[in-house]
């Protein structure tokens, strides 16, 4: 499987996705835009509440090509953050006052300067989160020591595992991914990740393998805990449920499988005002591999830059950042449906 970009598909391009999201009528609804919904609850324009989390996308390269990937990542993507841009990130992190740095990709570990950045961040005393796809740990001998490296820097590991069975996991993430993920989880457990009183946090991420919404986070966590423990002897801390946003490869899937309208209709129907008040872009900043700034990783993939003059790391000022209007569009319905969704899972009960 290739990325949409490598296949030259129209929906690989952010502006075309936006055009599609704005202009495709939703059956039975005429059309309710996200802006209208925010207006209804006096939340438009959406404003930030401060910077707590500094999320950095280290590049689009990945060893997997998951069907739902909102980054359109894969081995064929070459966009990758340089050490120079990482240094600019480090300055901006100090300026921002963020307490947490969230590293994502692609597979962030594939960036040749990944360890350099983690070491620097560790020196700054920031909480570090790495969104690790698990299979990277067992993909190549040069990654085999990642669990020890994570442990050394007390990195919090957040990993996708869409289900506790191979069929469902592999149908979303690729043939053989489940088995490799189990192998990697065992390695993380072996150094203490996910184990009681180790202080080493291993959180899992569930996202639906199809055009439906995630289950209740608490209930699903109990199922995951039982199945992974009984069958594989695997332990983890929390399970985050994340809704698939209608962008990039998941959007392409929705359109091709004729699920787009029904899915959008469902997202709109389940609009939850409490979730809207707590969307993650209000306390997060997202940096792209080339140093441009965004409200979140989703906006980044749609090429919707921060609504400030010159939205680049080199001009980062906390004040401008805190008074901006957050750029929203209809993909945002994915963050506000049902219990809501963020990089940290559901956002309201």
């Amino acid at each position: 499987m290739k990325s949409l970009e490598a296949e030259g598909q129209a929906l690989a391009k952010g502006p075309l996705q936006i055009q599609f999201l704005e202009n495709t009528p939703i059956n039975g609804y005429g059309f309710t835009s996200f802006q209208d919904k925010l207006n209804e609850i006096d939340l438009y324009p959406l404003k930030p509440t401060g910077i707590e989390i500094f999320q950095i996308n280290l590049g689009k390269m990945c060893n997997q090509v998951c069907k739902h990937c909102h980054v359109d990542a894969g081995p064929d993507r070459k966009e990758i953050m340089t050490r120079e841009t990482m240094d600019a990130c480090l300055n901006a992190i100090e300026e921002s006052g963020a307490h947490t740095v969230d590293l994502t990709g692609g597979a962030p570990e594939m960036n040749p300067d990944f360890r350099y950045l983690v070491e620097k961040l560790s020196g700054l005393g920031k909480k570090i989160i790495v969104r690790c796809n698990l299979t990277i740990i067992v993909a190549n001998p040069r990654f085999h020591d990642l669990p020890d490296f994570f442990k050394k820097h007390k990195v919090e590991v957040v990993s996708s595992l869409p289900y506790f069975t191979a069929v469902k996991t592999d149908s979303q993430r690729g043939e053989g991914v489940f088995e490799k993920s189990i192998h990697a989880l065992k390695k993380l457990n072996a150094v203490g990740y996910g184990m009681e009183q180790s202080g080493l946090i291993l959180n899992l991420v569930y996202n639906p393998s199809g055009a439906f919404l995630p289950p209740n986070e608490r209930d699903l966590k109990l199922q995951f805990q039982k199945k992974l423990r009984d069958k594989y002897g695997i332990y983890f801390n929390e399970l985050f449920t994340i809704t698939n946003l209608p962008i990039s490869r998941f959007l392409d899937y929705l359109v091709k499988s004729d699920n787009y309208e029904a899915y959008m209709e469902k997202l709109i129907e389940r609009f939850n005002p409490t979730a809207a008040h707590n969307v993650m872009c209000r306390n997060t900043i997202s940096v792209g591999w080339d140093g441009f700034l965004y409200d979140c990783d989703f906006n980044q993939m749609l090429d919707l830059k921060l609504d400030i003059p010159d939205p680049h790391l080199n001009n980062f000022r906390r004040e401008t950042f805190n008074i901006r209007n957050i750029v929203t569009n209809n993909h945002c319905f994915g963050c506000t449906a049902g219990a809501g969704s963020s990089c940290g899972g559901a956002i309201s009960g």
Binding site: N27, G28, K168, P208, N216, D219
Partner: protein, 110 residues
């Protein structure tokens, strides 16, 4: 093409109150209450609903509870097992009536 069953009609279920408001309200209150977590979890109830939907062979309910069980965290294997439970009870209840047939045959036979 016109058909008796239209998937779009499922979304209009809530409109049954147009013709009889009071009873519809009572029904939907009861329905909502029934499917909440109780002595059984909402997930277990959803699987029962899926099985019953197959027994009734109601396309609306099969549509609704296929989505609902997925959204309650069930997988295909669990869902198909629920359908087998429905099928086993259906076939079992057919077959157990074979005893009546046997009784009658014995009554009538020398």
């Amino acid at each position: 093409m016109k058909t008796y069953y239209n998937p779009q009609d499922l979304k209009k279920f809530g409109n049954i109150g147009e013709f009889q408001k009071g009873l519809a309200e009572k029904f939907f209150d009861y329905y909502g209450e029934t499917f909440k977590d109780g002595a059984l979890t909402a997930r277990e109830k959803s699987l029962i609903a899926l099985a019953v939907a197959h027994t009734l062979q109601c396309p609306y309910c099969i549509d609704a509870y296929t989505t609902d069980t997925l959204e309650k965290g069930c997988d295909e294997e669990q869902m198909m097992e629920a359908v087998h439970v429905a099928a086993a009870i259906r076939s079992g209840s057919t077959l157990v009536h074979g005893v009546q047939m046997m009784n009658k045959v014995k009554d009538l036979s020398m």
